[in-house]
Amino acid sequence: MRIFALNGSPRGKFSNTRVMIDELIKGIADRTGTTARIHDLILEEDVKELAMSTEQHELLLIGFPLYVDSMPGIVKEFFESMGALRRFPESKQIVFLIHSGFSEAIHSRFVERYCRKLASRMGFGCPGVIIKGGSEGVRFLSSETREQLLPMLRELGEHLAATGELRQDMLKELAAPERFEGEVLEMVRASIGDGTSHPYWDQLLRNNDAFEQRFARPLLG
């Protein structure tokens, strides 16, 4: 099986997306013995040519972080280039991986609908869309999210290679929580405070000596 893997993160090589796609590919390789190169979209010189090269592959793995409620601009550009080809004689499978810094899956569900529609528009099969929230930090070696997440992605990849399908129970587990409700929502509300402080952001701001300017409004004339 020829696999085309795309890291659609504008952060390039040091991105959460790349770590996750890499693990899916490892899982596929566990089963098939064949590995795939990951294309870092932001580093590609010619998006059209890259899109054209998908023609020679049977399985497309497309990963991207959620940027303002949908795909990053550069990923849309890649889709547009693929759409302009519209000459895919063989049947193909396409799997999307969408992740976001927000904890809840709900943020990614809307662009998921777009991705599924895109697959059907192109005449591709789509075994599923992998949604993962709370993903910031996966790229750091010691992160807790990473330790839990990566073995699951690897297993997902292995199962995909074996059956051509994504395990729905695992997709559900990866996506959880869909949204916060009831008491949990109230705990979240209490923990994020009044929207003017947060331990994680405050620490980053202090590290950069920018804490005092955190509410700056430089765009006002």
Binding site: V68, S70, P72, G73, K76, H107, Y114, L219, G221
Partner: protein
């Protein structure tokens, strides 16, 4: 009401889109609204690289040097921002999306709960209403309308504002959907 139109058409030769948008803009002007149109394909707009400089390093400022800051300055002075684009492969143009990705200096990194979900907190007091105006491609169907509408409704929620108008025109300028 100060209106800013972000024209995300990537193709200057797309005459039918151009005619539809200018008719739409003329109508707003007849209504007495001051309208400014920003033609994005004439601007230099780099892809956001997710560095978060605008959140944690130089709050409110982007480290990329191009035409985006000038456009953001217009947004924070507007009452209504209209995202206009031909539909390309079921969604707004990649050009318009690339610009949209650069709007994160308009929010703080901090969080709030809106409609039961976590969202960022606005950085500026003035939060213009949003609108989306699109021109269909041949294969556009109702599902495409819904997806675009829903994603722009999300954009508005993320900017702590509302989507106040949504229009889909066909290539002859007939309204296919309007909310």
């Amino acid at each position: 009401m100060r209106v800013l139109v972000l024209d995300g058409n990537p193709d200057a030769d797309d005459k039918s889109y151009g005619a539809i948008l200018s008719t739409f803009v003329q109508k707003l002007i007849f209504e007495g609204k001051p309208v400014e149109v920003v033609t994005l394909h004439q601007k230099n707009i780099k892809q956001c690289v997710g560095c978060w400089t605008c959140w944690v390093n130089m709050p409110g400022k982007c480290m990329l040097k191009d035409d985006v800051e000038g456009i953001l300055m217009k947004i924070v002075e507007s009452d209504l921002v209209i995202f206009a684009s031909p539909i390309i492969l079921g969604f707004m143009s990649s050009l318009l999306k690339r610009f949209t990705d650069r709007m994160i200096p308009l929010v703080l990194p901090y969080f709030q709960v809106l409609e039961g979900e976590i969202h960022h907190v606005p950085r500026y007091e003035n939060r213009p209403l949003l609108a989306a105006v699109v021109v269909a491609e041949e294969e556009t169907d109702r599902e495409d309308h819904e997806i675009i509408f829903d994603i722009y409704t999300r954009n508005a929620l993320n900017l702590s504002t509302k989507l106040s108008m949504y229009k889909v025109f066909d290539r002859n300028g007939e309204e296919l959907a309007s909310r």
